[in-house]
């Protein structure tokens, strides 16, 4: 319940933050919303000696559009994502997902950056970003670089972030108008992590699917991009046969751990159902 002691820093600029991380190396961690890190610190599973609080870095806030993309600052909270009219219009899957994360209090504090960067396989936004083909803008001592969400996740709590890096923004390509979307999440109770969840983004034209991306949450130690499952519905009417094939292909790549949410084969079974439901709803919504 009581964290180990640490030194606290509250930089006023991104450069100052990056400098602090460079100075303290692996002894330093950033804190944004804190609702993943601080519970770990209270259990003493995480014991950073230096905590770098990003809350004053306004340059990491905001949700704005560019001609071909939506840019979301890493410090945008789930609450802000839910309330954003821009996102509701352009990427409604984000609001749908955010509403299924944790509870109102956690959503007030939890940030998009934290949710996608800390590598927790239970987080929901990574699969959504993978399905959307998002890229993460990362800054560190060595400068700035963009990493595709689909290339970002390496293992549980292990990502392409190098020591001293800070994720500053998420860039999501502007989607097609009238795209279909859904985030289907099975959970034991409201606010729980997923037993299994599926994110689907697709486009239809003349009754046939022209593109589809499917990604899975919490059925492996990273989010899974179900590439072949997506391919199974492209060119089809997203009918029962195509949906079944997509679900089968998604289940083949799932390898969930057995835990309080159920045995592994049960969770894989649920993953298949989530894919089915998400595809059906996405198709329904596609303009």
């Amino acid at each position: 319940m009581i964290p180990a002691p640490f030194e606290y820093h509250r930089p006023r600029s991104l450069d100052e933050a990056i400098g602090l991380l460079a100075q303290h190396g692996e002894d330093a961690r950033v804190v944004a919303g804190g609702h993943s890190l601080i519970p770990m610190m209270k259990l003493r599973l995480a014991k950073p000696e230096h905590l770098v609080d990003l809350q004053d870095l306004d340059e990491l806030r905001g949700i704005r559009s560019e001609p071909d993309a939506v840019i979301i600052g890493a410090l945008a909270t789930q609450h802000e994502l839910i309330g954003s009219e821009l996102l509701a219009a352009k990427h409604p899957i984000i609001r749908e997902t955010a509403l299924q994360i944790a509870d109102p209090q956690v959503r007030y504090c939890g940030t998009l950056g934290g949710n996608v960067a800390n590598g927790d396989p239970g987080n929901d936004m990574p699969a959504v970003m993978v399905a959307l083909g998002a890229t993460y803008r990362v800054k560190g001592r060595g400068g700035e670089r963009d990493i595709a969400a689909r290339d970002f996740y390496e293992g549980a709590y292990s990502t392409a972030l190098r020591e001293g890096d800070i994720l500053v923004a998420v860039r999501i390509p502007m989607p097609a108008d009238g795209h279909g979307y859904a985030y289907e999440k099975q959970k034991r109770k409201v606010g729980d992590y997923a037993t299994a969840a599926a994110a689907v983004v697709l486009t239809m034209s003349g009754g046939a699917c022209t593109s589809a991306a499917i990604a899975l949450t919490n059925v492996a130690d990273t989010p899974l991009f179900a590439k072949e499952a997506g391919e199974a519905v492209v060119g089809t009417a997203v009918d029962e046969a195509a949906i079944s094939e997509a679900a089968r292909r998604a289940q083949r790549i799932a390898s969930p751990s057995a835990d309080g949410r159920g045995p592994a084969d049960f969770r894989t079974h649920v993953a298949g159902i989530m894919v089915r439901r998400a595809l059906a709803r996405a198709k329904e919504r596609a303009g």
Partner: protein, 444 residues
Amino acid sequence: MSAEIESAQARTQKLEGLGTRRKRVEDARFTQGKGNYIDDLKLPGMLFGDFVRSPYGHARVKSINKEAALELPGVKAVLTADDLKPLKLHWMPTLAGDVQAVLADEKVLFQGQEVAFVVAEDRYIAADAVDLVEVEYEELPALVDPTKSMAADAPVLRDDLKDKTSGAHGPRKHHNHVFTWEVGDAEGTARAVRDAAVVAKERIVYQRVHPCPLETCGCVASMDKVNGHLTMWGTFQAPHAVRTVASLISGIPEHKIRIISPDIGGGFGNKVGVYPGYICSIVASIVLGVPVKWVEDRMENLQATAFARDYHMTGEIAATREGRITGLRCHVLADHGAFDTCADPTKYPGRVLQHLHRLLRHPGRARDGRRRLHQQGAGRRRIPLLVPGDGGVLFHRADDRRPGAQARSRPGRNPPPQPNPQRAVSLPIGAQRGIRQRRLSDCA
């Protein structure tokens, strides 16, 4: 838009009779954040206690090194069983006729068991000091399945009881056996089952649950050495029992002990028992001469305080083809944990079966009903169990108003109100069979 808290006089004037809606007196303070729960209490000079707990379910404690913890500024004491031994306080009596370790004495018997008590100026220092206490354990095989607890080669858990052939509730037939309690007509029931046209048999596991009140357990103990008075505030559902135990083990006479139960954040049975935290706080207060507070966190509460249920049950219902029940035979295997601290207000062990037996004993039915109930407590891996007696659903209702009436189960009909409402009993067997269920209120 103001709401006055009415004066006593005004309330008396407005007093109406039965059926009037009343507001609760305590809600005035609870809705304003002015409750007085244990952790709200702050006394001058008060110190904070915290436990070092075993990560193992069964292990020998080889050594405890307190040096580093004692050197941490702000740490006032680190107590172990060795410190309590000269005062004979390292074990304490339980409400079920057993004894319970206050601090692990050579052995730990469940994960989370208290091994040492650190006392410091505040809870942050205490938490750091807990991490600095070095305990050397020799891991032993843990027993986690009560159905295996009475195998011939099952590990010996309670060294202090291993040769005892009788316990508080009767003879013991194995080193992990607590008691066997039987009620009913064994022979008659066996005959009913043997002769029945239909026998329905079911094995049901009623899993362990934890009361988990939102407020965890805690206390503040304050020994006044000048007057020889001990005052204790705590999360106590049974303050008198706490006073008795405190007096028994400390030697302070009861009239010099004052136990106060202020506001409590739920209990549900979890706060009936006397926990090591209470005893260690008393000892620490006596030794250090200042008030000592102990409040556990949620994981400690879930791991180391009283749980409920954990029954492995087999039931057989003997019946005629028309569905008239002629006999009921139940065997319940209950995991009572490492120390039997079961809190049975009536002092009947195996209360679930006591209720069942009483339920089926109607005047009109006595000739027909035979039942044999057998509860066997075993498996001493974890701490306390509470036997249920509270709430539940009635699985069978007998029409007992006509002399000579035979018991019937009447699915689908709404039975008329009974002259003697029975105490409701928890019986999942009925739930499984879809037999009509109703909850009757307790008339007592």
